[in-house]
Amino acid sequence: MQIYVILLVLLGLTAVAYRAGRQRSVQVAGGVSRFRDMHSLPSYYGMYTALWCGLPALIVIAIWMAVQPTIIVDLLVQDLPPEMQQLPRPELELVINDIKNIAAGNNMVSGENSEALKRAAAHYQSLQETSRAAMGVLALSLAIFGGALAWRRISPKMRARNRVEGIVLGILALSSTIAIFTTVGIVLSVFFESMRFFQSVPFFDFVFGLEWSPQIAIRSDQVGSSGAFGMVPLFAGTMLISFIAMVVAVPIGLMSAIYLAEYAGPRVRAWAKPMLEVLAGIPTVVYGFFAALTVAPFVRDLGASLGLEVSSESALAAGLVMGIMIIPFVSSLSDDVINAVPQSLRDGSYALGATKSETVRKVILPAALPGIVGGVLLAVSRAIGETMIVVMAAGLSANLTANPLESVTTVTVQIVTLLVGDQEFDSPKTLAAFALGLMLFLTTLVLNVIALHVVRKYREQYD
């Protein structure tokens, strides 16, 4: 909890620095009445001092927190008894974990709770305390030093406003680059784990393999010990469910967008549009529950009454509910596109004697087609990445089938099942999830790039 204290003290120091800087600027100017001699307003001198007080200290704290764990662990290993230091890497990590557990006060230890471990835990605790104390002292003295330096430099010639604005601009620019860092982070994290996966499972076996059964044998003579990591059945399942979803969502979404844009009076629009948008605001876990509890049994019973054998985790149920989820997505994107078609096109069509539906089908839809296609592509990308509905309503067994009444599994379902629960981070099973994540990311990325490009092109056409 000491870190909160340090941050609070730092906050206090920054406030003091602001007041001190402000006062000093007034003093240097020789009173409020003579302030026009100064380059900037008093508050800018205050902010300048405060920034010099707070920023360097914050940066130091951030760096310290980032490197502290590794350094402490290194120090800890150096002080362990030699026979422990000789342990191979994984076992050594286990020992370190035990030491951390003891230090944190819970005595859940994998091996025996030896005297050496206890001593190491005490050592670990003292190292941590020393490190935190050192960080506090360094950060706070840096804050005082920086503040004092800035305070001394206040003079009528100093362009405090320009400097403060420069720093603020830097912070703003830095914030905007977070988007890049996120993308880079996603790519790197998924990519490197995937590379490690491809070291144990060949890339082409993964991409073109027709079988998926991610068990890894504990003993070599176990039955069914060879895990198979072929992603084709998973992508086939994903495509099947997404296709069913699109069959539901595109006609309903598109037709309701057309009706609301071209036919409905303002009153119908006023209540029907928000009603449809409610569907977009419902969390996906709710749809998943709805699919598993209501729709799947309904589909199964309906199939049974027709003499069909329907799995209780059928692709149809998951796809139907996913389609409902995507309706507002399709309808609001189509609505934008249809409204962007210029009125002159409609007027021209009516003037030739076309009915409303003829105008819609022969004039508006062709004109809006690129935009609608873009919207549908975005919806497909969303269906492919959707997780909770399929986790709760689709199956786990990887069937390579096109029959919507059977149970299939999807990429996202497998990622969740591979990663939820206890896991080792090195087994191909866990790494396979990252490889699937990479494929998912790439697929949706390509779809999104195409869709955004199409939509943007379309917008420019009528601007």
Binding site: E165, S175, I178, S189, P251, M255, A264, L440, T444, L445
Partner: protein
Amino acid sequence: MTSPADRKPIDVVRASLKKRYARERRFRFLGQLAVFSGVAFVGILFITIILNGYTAFEQTDIRMDVYFDEQMIDPQGTRDPQVLLQGDYAGLVKAALRKEFPEVRGRRDKRKLYRLISSGASSRLQQMVMDDPGLIGTTQSLWLVADDDVDMLVKGHIDRTLPESERRLNDKVVGWIEKLESEGRVEKRFNTTFFTAGDSREPEMAGIAGAAAGSFYTLLVTLLLSFPIGVAAAVYLEEFAPTNRLTDLIEVNINNLAAVPSIVFGLLGLAVFINFFGLPRSAPLVGGLVLTLMTLPTIIIASRAALKSVPPSIREAALGVGASKMQMVFHHVLPLAMPGMLTGTIIGMAQALGESAPLLMIGMVAFIVDIPGGPTDPSTVLPVQIYLWADSPERAFVEKTSAAIMVLLAFLMTMNALAVVLRKKFERRW
């Protein structure tokens, strides 16, 4: 009969009119059908959830005359809190049940009898004695929480007319419950446990308080990070950024991130925050970080739209009276754009509140009984709690799940309504 050559174009048109109007009506009807089915889906969804869940707000209680036997709580009579803590409170409940049904013999039947009252009742008795040791030696008439099977029977989710072999409770147990009912000892009362307790394996003792607290801390972290960063990024991109490759790249990135599947953000969180930086698993802190990255695009896009809607005349006027560019933005443009930014932020937060897939990746699916006290305590969030309960086999968890969904939807609706009100109230046409 006139020959085709004599027909004027107007006749051809007239002849086809009927067909064309019919087609027009069909098309119109299809449109109405589409809108209607969309609205009907909303209706069906809400009705199923409410019908399944409204009973969870009530809980069956059974009135028992519990004798606080000194022999079972504190045989030495020391009244030492340590001793009181160790007392056999489950035994008190059992004794009360035995007194009520003296005719029950045999170990099997007795065990069934003891299962009428929830195992959580004993901790309530313990709490009562800890608060007031004077209770020892007295007999109190108390409403104790019934077991979930009893609860289901009383609420009618277990059909009493079914043959015994297809029912979870056999005829003997149903007979006991009916006897209690005829004595007025069974009552449905408002379920406070649901709002004050953490998760539990026993449906009647499970509540959403732990998940709600987890959601609160997660959203707090998300809000504290995503709002300032999002607004700063939007201000930079809209007001200061030069048009060059870098800003173009940033824009493409933001638009793409808005459409990346949420589960991929979970993978990022697992690989970067947990494995690389070593932050604790299952903590709202990590959940908040992941959700921040996820909601940032939404907030940035909304904030940029809000900044765009501020007319250039405001900027020119500010610059005209000698404000610097930074002063112009922070003193004049930003306050005018703030309502739009807040609306976007609330919508982003609502998204984050309903999100569960990335949180599964970073271990917020653990079974956690305690209510978290801070952003680094292990916890779960409301949507994940719903997912966990939906997976539980007990019938009583179905209504708990639906009730939790109702609570979650209520929060989401409030947030969205707030966004709408904010937009209506502060929206300005220039």
